[in-house]
């Protein structure tokens, strides 16, 4: 199975939300990283066919997804950024409805819904109204609805937003289990999640693909460019005007600052091992660049 995005462009008036994006996705987990407004959500909407490209095409195994229509959607699981539910529905009723929309028979839906409610840890509240669910619980419902049809292509827009650390770990584990022969595309602001889940990272900036590579390769690109230094307030204020800044930690003797720079920024700066967060800061800027 190969999902090909060929020179796809999407404009809204004058604004180019997605600008000449070309990607080839085969089985595996892909992380979509980029700052707000980079075009991640728009690209995902194009891939799930709820937006039509202004130019270019998206194909699955060579056939345009718009031609495939229901056959394409049958393979698809999409979790939008904002999870919408019917507040007067119970979790079970909502999932059974989505299961029917996804073409599951009544019996299949019954067992699948029960299985997924267990998977996302909501079996105890299966008959409770969704109106009373917390944001994290709704996210879990969103994840469950995505998996109802056992999709071959999973598109998840900010799936871990609002989940507590335990839930995030549970979700990452679910994804790791599922990722076998599937194409999974995830966008998230929580870069550490990507580090655990994604095999490859797509960096998106201003609607265009900046870089796409395996996570470890991307981390390697910033090796020798990540520095750590303990600074005073005054030093920090002046350095943040000149360099991209990663994590800042208050210490008794000052501030421990992670600086991303091609050259050694300060005398006292020491090179450190980069993580994926540093890749993000390197390509999209921290406090300043």
């Amino acid at each position: 199975m190969k999902l090909t995005i060929q020179n796809v462009m999407k404009t809204f008036g004058e604004k180019r939300a997605v600008n000449d994006v070309s990607l080839e996705l085969i089985s595996g987990v892909y992380g979509l990283l980029g700052p707000n407004g980079a075009g991640k959500t728009t690209l995902m909407k194009l891939i799930v066919d709820i937006l039509t490209p202004s130019a270019g095409r998206i194909t699955l195994d060579g056939v345009d997804i718009t031609e495939l229509g229901a056959a394409y959607r049958d393979k698809l699981g999409y979790m939008p950024q904002e999870i919408g539910v019917y507040k007067n529905f119970s979790a079970k009723k909502f999932l059974k409805y989505i299961a029917a929309l996804k073409g599951l028979s009544g019996r299949e839906a019954e067992s699948k819904v029960s299985e997924l409610l267990g998977l996302v840890g909501l079996k105890d509240v299966a008959n409770k109204r969704l109106g009373g669910f917390s944001g994290g619980m709704l996210r879990r419902i969103g994840i469950a609805q995505t998996l109802l049809n056992d999709p071959q292509i999973l598109i998840l827009d900010e799936p871990t937003a609002g989940l507590d650390p335990q839930e995030r770990i549970r979700f990452r584990n679910i994804l790791s289990e599922l990722s076998g022969n599937r194409i999974v595309l995830i966008s998230t602001h929580i870069v550490t999640d990507m580090e655990f889940i994604a095999g490859q990272i797509i960096l998106l900036k201003d609607g265009a693909v900046l870089r796409m590579d395996h996570t470890e390769n991307l981390i390697r690109t910033v090796e020798g460019k990540v520095w750590s230094a303990v600074l005073t307030h005054e030093q920090f204020n002046s350095i943040k005007q000149l360099y991209s800044i990663g994590n800042v930690m208050q210490r008794s003797d000052g501030m421990e600052v992670r600086i991303i720079s091609d050259k050694k920024p300060l005398e006292q700066a020491k090179p450190i091992q980069p993580i994926l967060e540093d890749v993000y800061t390197y390509y999209f800027g921290g406090t300043a660049k």
Binding site: K45, D74, K87, K93, Y97, L101, G103
Partner: protein
């Protein structure tokens, strides 16, 4: 289409609490108003027990002549010689009875029998005069060589319909009231209000609830959802029509009686000039069919509007304005004799006139459709079906290709 999806779509519509509140309030109000009439002396002191005697009196040619000579203004004393003694006894038994201690009940059955018989003759004569006028008008046009005029075609068709339609009968039953159920605006307006309230958000609520992305990316989320929402919407509107019609029929029938349903339509008060040879029951059933069709048309329209709107208010007001505007126009504009004109068309083709077909069938009304004289009621049906068809086409096209931009 999937039964589970239809069931859920239907549940989404009927789970709105305000719909139930409106339905309960309207039902209680309607029943309350109508049951007040049970105490009305005209209802309380019915002439039905002496139906045969009054019918015999009304059939008398001599009484007819007296009636005409007095310009349809006669008294009970003029009719009394034509009634049997038992009928007189029944009518006069109330002479010393007072209604609510004020109105002498005696005058009520007496004036009622007088009115019924006078009106019976007056209507027969009005109908005969209309037929005679048509014959004269046709002869005049023939003499002037206007055989190809549209009015000639209309009047020829109308005369033919009158000649086949039968005769006016004496009407002593409650079918006038049952036929008027929809002519009074309450039931059609309430039915439509509930339908519009129920369906205004059928698509736009998916936007408000942020569920449309999930729906549109599901296998059956486009065609399947379209047809399921349509089926659920139409089922809901059918149930609304049937509920309000049943309520009105039951309440009106209990108050005024259900008997003599096969009386001819032309025998009812407002229908003396109808060219249609229908019974009162047939008219009533046609009116229910018309109400169902109007509900289907308005459902299609509001479903279509909802598919293009981001909240339920706009489709509600747009569809409500269409129904309400044409309803007000239908109640305001004076409909022309025989042939519709541009001013009367919005009224004559309105969905309200499908719900309440009285004005369209109570006299000969036609539309010039490419030179053919088509009874307006049929033109209305065709026009409204076209509206429904176009609405559904736009809705299908809009929803199937729907994009989620925000």
């Amino acid at each position: 289409m999937n039964a589970d999806i239809i069931r859920t779509e239907f549940y989404k519509i009927v789970s709105k609490k305000y719909i139930w509140i409106f339905v309960i309030l309207f039902s209680a109000f309607y029943a309350f108003i109508f049951f007040q009439f049970r105490d009305n002396p005209g209802v309380k002191y019915s002439l039905r027990p002496i139906r045969n005697e009054i019918q015999q009196a009304a059939a008398s040619e001599e009484l007819g002549n007296i009636m005409r000579s007095k310009g349809y203004k006669i008294s009970y004393e003029d009719i009394k010689p034509f009634l049997s003694s038992s009928a007189c006894e029944y009518i006069e038994q109330y002479r010393r009875v007072y209604y609510h201690d004020e109105i002498p009940v005696a005058s009520l059955p007496e004036s009622k029998v007088t009115d019924k018989i006078c009106n019976f003759y007056e209507r027969i004569d009005d109908r005969q005069n209309e037929i005679q006028n048509l014959r004269s008008s046709l002869a005049e046009m023939k003499k002037k060589g206007k055989l190809s005029s549209f009015l000639y075609a209309v009047q020829t068709k109308l005369l033919g319909m009158y000649e086949k339609a039968g005769e006016i009968e004496l009407n002593l039953d409650g079918w006038d009231e049952i036929a008027d159920i929809n002519y009074a605006w309450m039931i059609p307006a309430w039915t439509m209000l509930i339908i519009l309230l129920g369906l205004a958000g059928i698509y736009s609520d998916e936007y408000t609830n942020k569920t449309q992305s999930v729906l549109l990316t599901a296998k059956n989320g486009r065609q399947g959802v379209f047809f399921s929402k349509l089926a659920a919407g139409i089922l809901f509107s059918i149930l609304c029509v049937l509920y309000f019609q049943s309520l009105a029929f039951a309440v009106t029938g209990i108050v005024y009686g259900f008997s003599n349903a096969d009386i001819s339509l032309m025998s009812l008060y407002g229908f003396k000039l109808t060219p249609f040879a229908w019974s009162a029951l047939k008219f009533y059933l046609f009116q229910i069919l018309g109400s169902l069709l109007a509900a289907f048309v308005m459902s299609s329209l509001i479903i279509c509007l909802s598919a293009y709107c981001k909240n339920a208010l706009l489709p509600f007001f747009l569809a409500g304005t269409y129904w309400g505007g044409t309803f007000v126009w239908a109640k305001t504009v004076a409909l022309p004799q025989y042939v519709a004109n541009p001013l009367s068309l919005p009224a004559e083709l309105s969905p309200f006139m499908l719900q309440s077909i009285t004005d369209l069938v109570s006299t000969g009304r036609f539309i010039n459709l490419f030179g053919s004289a088509v009874p307006t009621i049929y033109a209305n049906i065709i026009f409204n079906l076209i509206i429904a068809f176009i609405s559904l086409l736009f809705c299908y096209h809009g929803y199937i290709r729907k994009q989620v931009k925000d």
